[in-house]
Symmetry: C2
Subunit: 136 residues, 2 copies
DNA sequence: GTAGATGCAAAGTATTTGCGACAAG
DNA sequence: CTTGTCGCAAATACTTTGCATCTAC
């Protein structure tokens, strides 16, 4: 079964404060990819005293601990999602902003091959597809 | 033979000012992917009166005209390169920041397939590989 | 001549940080 | 207790913009 963000904090030695628990809860329950502002909004509903600085500090901390993944999609604002065991990439609807997660092993393999061809070990990658919905 | 940035401006109806000519020249001669600050530095050597606001305005204009390509690699600053006829993606050395351009048609085809599978028409994409050089 | 471009400084965003008060382990 | 965290506001980094002046066409 899936380890919760709180559990991940404990196993990674991240101190669990009230604020972090709330941020963890909100991110756990978010199936989209909120930016810091949006996350702050959601968090504020549970605890209106949390400051945006804490939200910024926490997402950064969680990202460095491998608990959250940060994305810099078009739009200037960083967006976050809970790190999942299975890697996936994103297909972004340029009209609505909707994000579809997908996995394609063939592409993954080809990426490794490309890095290898140039003498590199692949440590990370980013693949974003931007599209418009076809009228079916 | 390759059309210069100046020629592209003319064919796209972009007014050619002194400043734009200089920025065009610097970008033409850059084989790397400078950010606005770096571009401003290079441009300043040719004309110290050009303001950074003009550089920002010009790269945006050129991007919208399809003359330059903008990239938001890790690091917060937007980086630019001259648009080339042939599409390519980037392999970034996370140690040195060096960028290798590559083309992989198989990946391109698979991307289209993925978009198609979800009912989308692919209008743009971004593929960045981050790696470290293997000790050969 | 006129619409659009430039330089400057001020204004915007997004994000980070110094600091005294406070809480987790 | 002690180290690290929080809230606040000020600071920073990158980028955009208002306005008077100037320039390409």
């Amino acid at each position: 079964m899936k380890e919760t963000i709180e559990q991940k904090c404990i196993s990674k030695g991240v101190k669990l404060t009230e604020q972090r628990k709330i941020i963890a809860k909100v991110m756990s329950e978010s199936s989209d990819h909120p930016d810091v502002d949006e996350l702050y909004n959601r968090v504020s509903k549970l605890d209106s005293k949390i400051s945006i600085a804490t939200v910024y500090r926490t997402v950064k901390l969680f990202e460095e601990a491998g608990i959250l993944a940060k994305h810099d999609f078009k739009g200037g604002k960083a967006r976050y999602e809970e790190m999942s065991e299975s890697h996936h990439d994103h297909l972004i609807d340029i009209k609505t902003g909707e994000i579809i997660e997908f996995v394609n092993d063939e592409i993954e393999i080809l990426q490794k091959k490309v890095a290898d061809k140039y003498g590199y070990e692949l440590v990370d990658h980013k693949l974003e597809l931007y599209g418009i919905k076809k009228k079916s």
